[in-house]
């Protein structure tokens, strides 16, 4: 009998009175049993002595051998900060560099998770993939830990060898240099990225006032200059207002990856997917994507038109002409049918598009990509004018902030640098040596500038040539404010004191204005407050105390206000038809090269391993950029995956590995910028190829699209790694398996309207020979709405952060050992020219009859009473049988201690260890892991309910992926709670389970995608 049973037995004999109870308890420990244990008192030969000695020596032996040594003391707070409760998270509102409002979750003072600020009027609780992953930048071990300065007594080239120097010494030295420059009339150049911070703009003007020879330059590789310039030509006002896609019935994009990487993707995804609601079929939007490269928007479009970008102008003008019925004389020569025949387009699709645009006038909108040419944007503006899309412009539209310095300004800067007119160059957390097109010659000119001051978090191509290397704070250690949208101003506050000996970059400029001895840790904080008190407060609040206003604003992370007269209303816009006179069709010659952007943006995020390892949403390639070419171009040039081509644009050459991507336009190379950093940190350096050097100060079709390129095959091979096997689309051996096997089940809006049960028409009942297990209390389940899911991979980023998922690197990914708990499966069907993509997020399905559970020999994976499929890491020995037997292949095995194996233990660096979510175990090598439905969040909610004595229903629990999903495609909850959304979705007409016939009874329901086609598409090949 076990002790427990014994005790139960004992106490079940209810004592008659207290006295008896006391007697009974008194007898619990019989005399002698609890005698003090003294080894020396025992006889020489005794059983107890023997056992004691044996036990002690065994215990010593065991502790000597154990792997789990105490690795350091846990020191408690001496005086606990008032707002910190151990084990309880705090949330602070702040703002990302791109103006998205965030909530930073901190645990014991460490930021551990970033999500959108639900109150924020622009991004409404969601953030982009960069924001999700930005946590890693804070803890990046490559961050420079202290300020460095060169030794002035050494020769010039010794400036590479900088010495650790105190901040006050540096401040004095810099101020001296700045004053000298002003005194000798030489220029001080500040190079920055475009900022929307009103306080920063004020700071710059203060700086200029103090140092009058200062000039400010700004440059972003990914910028809106073409769109804004086109807007100015068409309407005369400065800034394109932005489009509210939630009001659009018909959206037609021209090389615009609205759902992927173009513009404010969070806001756009929210807006577009809000109109793909299966409960509101009448307001289902329809997306047409016209594009040369295969983008995520193209993958989600109802109709995709494969067309090389230089031909877009003709198509747009032909559409405009068609819709205007020839009333605009300057474009009357563009005829739809001639464009269709010239480019071999699908006549039916184009006419459907034209009809849809005509039918939905006022509710249809066109959008050209950020990277598109000014001419195309002008044509799109015209098309929108004809469509009456003015009503679709954003309420809180974009306002003019900083924009790229003009080509002339930058040319002059470089000339002045070369001629010695620039004495001091301050790189204000920018990287012009990498970002600027190489034919400016900035990198070479930089060597001629006497004093280069680089403010940066990690070394980059620009800071490598700086005499002053000044490490700056991460966003989460900084103060700031952000404008850029009418009626909204967001605030940034620090949530952790600087981890290293760094300072906020604005605070450095401020110190150099005010004097070295005036520095204090909160000088920029005060500066912002002062500006707000004098400028914003009177404008916004008008009454009450500033203190109250300021703390309320900080708490919320933003303030909204009714803009002043004229600012809030849509600009009185009148289309300037003269703008059309400059539009001319581009004649096709050679190859077209499109330099798009992907997960790592312009390259400044290259050192973020999480971002590098999120597969490209369409190709699924990781850790690389590549030249995507169409299958027929590949055939023509005898290219296959991993071959190398040389791209030559007017003498600017670069070699790139080839990826044959179905759906790419012919004679087009689609690639992504930001890769190939020379000095991008431990993780980011030498990843991919630098295609920025293909860019030129003289634009091609646009800054990032060039025509007339020469492409030739060269010797060699570069292995590209994708997380999905790459099959030719016309390979009959494996074609359309996702449909044949009912992994992807789809229909059309029309079909669903006609027959809501169409999906289940041919289904058989699957019976089980074992009785079903009852779940009397909660039962967790999830629904994934494939109508809304765009495949943006934000959920992957969020899950990585929440669940301490390690980075494994390119080499291990090539062996199929990526660790992501949620992945986005992408399938192609159709033809190589007109592929149709299906997207499906895949996680552990938490099956009721989980096949993984019964095969584990050590019971390391079990079913919880609330329906979760659990992993017991401590018990797992790693037979991998569970992973073999999982039909969904969602289990991930720690083949190595990836934290140790990746880049020499990079992830075990002291600072990165702080990043881990303390609620989730960091898994050892040799252990299986997988999605847990964020069990730590469920447990926390249950604890809170228990504490408060409330009935626990599971309402309000969100998983990390769900929380991050801008489309709200993921719904999680207690399926036994009849009020929950999930309980309805689990039985939905559109709901299906992947691999239903296996009868493993998954708890993840997929809602079939409805394509908004004009026809009743029919359901697969059944």
């Amino acid at each position: 009998m076990s002790n427990n049973e014994k005790n139960k037995h004992k106490f079940s004999n209810k004592p008659k009175d207290t006295k008896e109870l006391l007697n009974q308890l008194g007898d619990e420990f019989k005399p002698g049993v609890t005698d003090e244990f003294k080894l020396e008192d025992m006889p020489e030969k005794s059983r107890r002595r023997f056992l004691a000695l044996m036990g002690a020596s065994a215990a010593f032996a065991a502790t000597a051998c154990t792997d789990y040594r105490d690795k350091g003391a846990i020191v408690n707070y001496n005086k606990k900060p008032e707002e910190v409760t151990m084990g309880k998270a705090n949330y602070y509102a702040s703002t990302l560099d791109n103006g998205l409002g965030i909530l930073i979750k901190t645990r014991e003072g460490r930021p551990v998770k970033i999500d959108g600020n639900p109150e924020h009027p622009i991004n409404k609780g969601k953030i982009d993939v960069y924001g999700q992953a930005s946590l890693m930048d804070l803890y990046d071990p490559d961050r420079i830990r202290y300020p460095q300065m060169y030794d002035e007594s050494t020769l010039e080239f010794d400036r590479f060898f900088k010495k650790k120097t105190k901040w006050d010494v540096i401040d004095k030295k810099v101020i001296e240099k700045l004053e000298n420059a002003v005194a000798s009339g030489k220029e001080i150049a500040i190079f920055t990225k475009n900022s929307s911070s009103p306080t920063f703009l004020k700071l710059l003007s203060d700086f200029k006032a103090k140092y009058p020879t200062t000039n400010v330059y700004s440059y972003d590789t990914i910028n809106d200059s073409a769109r804004d310039a086109a807007w100015k030509v068409c309407y005369g006002s400065e800034k394109f207002p932005g489009i509210d896609y939630s009001k659009a019935d018909i959206i037609v994009t021209f090389e615009a990856d609205l759902l992927g990487n173009d513009g404010n993707t969070v806001e756009q995804t929210q807006a577009i997917t809000s109109r793909r609601n299966h409960e509101d079929l009448d307001n289902f939007n329809r997306i047409y994507a016209v594009e040369g490269g295969f983008s995520l928007t193209g993958a989600n479009a109802d109709y995709r038109v494969r067309l090389t970008p230089e031909a877009h102008l003709e198509l747009i003008l032909a559409l405009a002409n068609h819709l205007a019925k020839g009333s605009i004389s300057s474009i009357s020569s563009y005829r739809l049918d001639s464009v269709i025949s010239k480019y071999g387009l699908n006549k039916e699709t184009i006419h459907l598009l034209a009809d849809d645009l005509a039918k939905h006038s006022g509710k249809a909108v066109a959008s050209a990509g950020t990277l598109h040419s000014k001419e195309t944007h002008i044509a799109v503006n015209l098309l929108n004018e004809i469509l009456g899309a003015k009503d679709l412009y954003l309420d809180n539209h974009y306002t003019q902030t900083m924009s790229n310095s003009s080509k002339e300004e930058l040319e002059n800067l470089v000339a002045d640098m070369n001629s010695g007119k620039v004495e001091v160059l301050i790189s204000f957390e920018a990287n012009p040596s990498f970002d600027l097109p190489s034919d400016y010659g900035f990198k070479e000119a930089l060597k001629k500038v006497p004093e280069v001051i680089a403010m940066t978090q990690i070394e980059n191509e620009t800071s490598a040539h700086a005499g002053f290397l000044l490490p700056v704070n991460h966003a989460f250690e900084s103060w700031g404010d952000f404008g850029g949208r009418v009626g909204v101003i967001s605030l940034r506050q620090p949530v952790i004191s600087p981890i290293h000996d760094t300072r906020q970059k604005e605070s450095l400029l401020l110190t150099w204005i005010e004097g070295a001895d005036k520095y204090s840790d909160d000088n920029y904080h005060k500066y912002i407050m002062n500006r707000w008190q004098s400028e914003e407060f009177p404008k916004i609040a008008k009454i009450g105390s500033f203190e109250k206003f300021w703390y309320a604003a900080l708490h919320d992370g933003f303030v909204t206000f009714n803009p002043q007269m004229g600012e809030g209303e849509h600009p009185q816009i009148q289309f300037n038809y003269n703008a059309l006179n400059a539009l001319k069709p581009v004649s096709k010659s050679g190859f077209t090269v499109v330099l798009a952007n992907s997960m790592i943006g312009d390259g400044s995020l290259a050192n973020n391993g999480w971002l590098q390892e999120i597969p490209h949403p369409v190709s699924k390639v990781v850790w690389d950029n590549y030249a995507a070419v169409s299958p027929s171009t590949a055939k023509k040039m005898d290219l296959k995956d991993n071959d190398i081509i040389e791209i030559n644009i007017n003498g600017r050459k670069q070699i790139l590995p080839v990826w044959v991507q179905a759906g790419t336009a012919d004679d087009l190379v689609y690639t992504e910028i930001g890769y190939g950093r020379e000095k991008g940190g431990t993780v980011g350096s030498e990843v991919g190829t630098n295609v920025n050097i293909l860019m030129s100060k003289n634009s091609g079709l646009s800054e990032r699209i060039f025509t007339g390129a020469k492409v030739s095959k060269v010797e060699g091979e570069h292995k590209l790694v994708a997380t999905q096997e790459h099959h030719a689309l016309d390979d009959d051996f494996v074609k359309d398996f996702h449909k044949i096997r009912d992994i992807i089940q789809e229909g059309t809006v029309k079909q669903y309207k006609e027959d809501p049960h169409f999906l289940h028409a041919h289904k058989h009942e699957v019976i089980s020979i074992t009785p079903d297990i009852e779940y009397p209390n909660e039962k967790w389940a999830m629904a994934m709405d494939l109508n809304k899911c765009t495949g943006c991979s934000l959920c992957v980023a969020a899950c990585n952060v929440e669940n301490n998922v390690p980075i494994v690197g390119k080499e291990e990914t090539s062996k199929g050992r990526e660790m992501h708990w949620i992945r986005i499966d992408r399938y192609f069907s159709g033809t190589p020219d007109e592929p149709e993509a299906s997207i499906q997020p895949m996680i552990c399905q938490h099956c009721d009859n989980a096949p993984c559970e019964n095969v584990c020999p050590v019971v390391a994976t079990t079913h919880s009473p609330d329906g979760l499929n659990q992993m017991v890491y401590n018990r797992c020995v790693g037979t991998r049988y569970c992973a073999n037997n999982c039909p969904y292949k969602v289990r991930r095995f720690n083949f190595f201690d990836f934290r140790e194996m990746f880049e020499d233990g990079y992830q075990y660096s002291d600072s990165l260890k702080l990043m881990n979510n303390p609620e989730v175990t960091v898994r050892a090598r040799g252990v299986m892991e997988k999605c847990t439905f964020c069990v730590q969040r469920i447990t926390e909610a249950r604890q809170i309910a228990t504490e408060k004595g409330e009935k626990f229903t599971g309402a309000g629990i969100t998983t990390a992926c769900q929380e991050a999903c801008p489309a709200d495609a993921i719904v999680f909850g207690n399926v036994n709670d009849p009020n929950s959304a999930i309980s309805k979705l689990a039985k939905h007409d559109l709901g299906y389970h992947v691999l239903e016939m296996l009868n493993v009874r998954p708890n993840v329901t997929y809602l079939a995608k409805l394509r908004n086609k004009h026809t009743n598409g029919g359901h697969g090949e059944h």
Binding site: Q724, E725, H727, F733, V734, F737, H738, I740, R741, I743, E812, K815, G816, R817, E818, R823, D825, R826, Y827, Q840, M842, P851, N854, V855, C856, P857, V858, V859, R875, C876, V877, G878, T879, R880, Y881, A883, N884, N885, P887, Y888, K889, R891, R892, F893, N894, F895, F896, D897, M901, A924, R925, G926, V927, M928, V994, L995, L998, V1000
Partner: protein, 464 residues
Amino acid sequence: MNTDYTHEPSVIEGKPTLASIDEVVIKPTETMPDKKFFMAIGFTMTLMMIGALSLGLSFYYGTGMWGNNNPVGWGFPIVNFVFWVGIGHAGTLISAILFLFRQKWRNGIARFAEGMTIFAVMTAGIFPLIHVGRPWLAHYLFPLPNQHGLWVNFTSPLLWDVFAVSTYFTVSFVFWYVGLMPDFATMRDRTTNKIKKVIYSILSLGWRHSNRHWLNYEMIYLILAGFATPLVLSVHTIVSFDFAVSVLPGWHTTIFPPYFVAGAVFSGFAMVQNVLIFIRKIFNMEHIITVDTLEKMNKIIILTGSMVGYAYAMEFFIAWYSGNQAESFAFVNRAFGDYAWAYWIMVSCNVISPQLFWIKKLRRSIPFMFMIGVFVNVGMWFERFVITVTSLSRDFLPSSWAYYKPTLVDFGILIGSFGMFFTLLLLFTKTMPVVSIAEVKAVVDGAQPSHHGHDEEEGGNKHE
């Protein structure tokens, strides 16, 4: 001479005297190992060291040193495990089943085949322990009482494996040892070396060749043969459950148990035949392990090879007949997918090559049968590779397909397993009688009681 058609021809060639059998069989254990022996064992131990080094790397860095990836959780180690367990099967079949069927020709080869069973199972037994991610916790696989109250999962075929293999090893070992007792006694009686005498005395457990000993011996041998017989069928059946109980297309097949057993016997016989060809030559036992005996083994190879071939065909048929797309693709993919090369190696080695044994001349040709034996072993290793790897590399979701590529460490461990097996075999040949002296004496022509009565008194070792 009168021709007696009821008289079976002896399985031992010539009419060797009983003393000469003692002499021939025990000689290798009484002479110092020669240079050739040291060269041979030096070679096999080198192979073993390669394996040890590879294992060391795997333990130090992790299972990531192997080619395994996310869909393909099982690679070489499991393939090797199934292969070696299979090799063991011939021994038990020869010593137990053929014994029960009174096949006298098995007497000359039973001892050696049983030895191979023991060593093959020892080699196989290493793999389930080392293939896990955390081998230092491999004891979790055994139902050891512990203070956490944690128990093993009796629904997992891997646990059944633990029991099946350990039972198999125990029974085989006891059976082998019981058979060795009379021979140890003979060696004890012959040796003049004091140390050997002590060792053999202990090992022979006081055997005195008395009639009563023989009576008890016969009975226990029969009982143990009875015990071992179902194990021949059960062990590989249970090993096949590792695959058959799963849900994977290509694994989830009811044909697996008989097909695995046939395959195991097939590869086991090929291995025994291969090794015996060397043994009979080196130790001058060509008259004890005769070409007739080898031919009989080759006949079993044809039989089991054909059964395996039938199973391959039937798998295809059922996959098509089931109408299950995933199932039929799994098999089409084996033959025409990325691993087609492995599949066709398997088919040509296992199905086509043994069919040549229908020709009597080839069946009795030593070099030829050796070659076919090697083919069969290669083919059977590939069979396990095809089953394990191709099914995993392309299962239900095409998004999760991946090609498995073994690493050098994988090959190192495979080589090491051969090194271990042959090292043990070599040590066996120098320390114990590789042929059962007592059993062979019983089948020497003239050793049996005869109806004619004239040589009854010679039957010192009655064995009926």
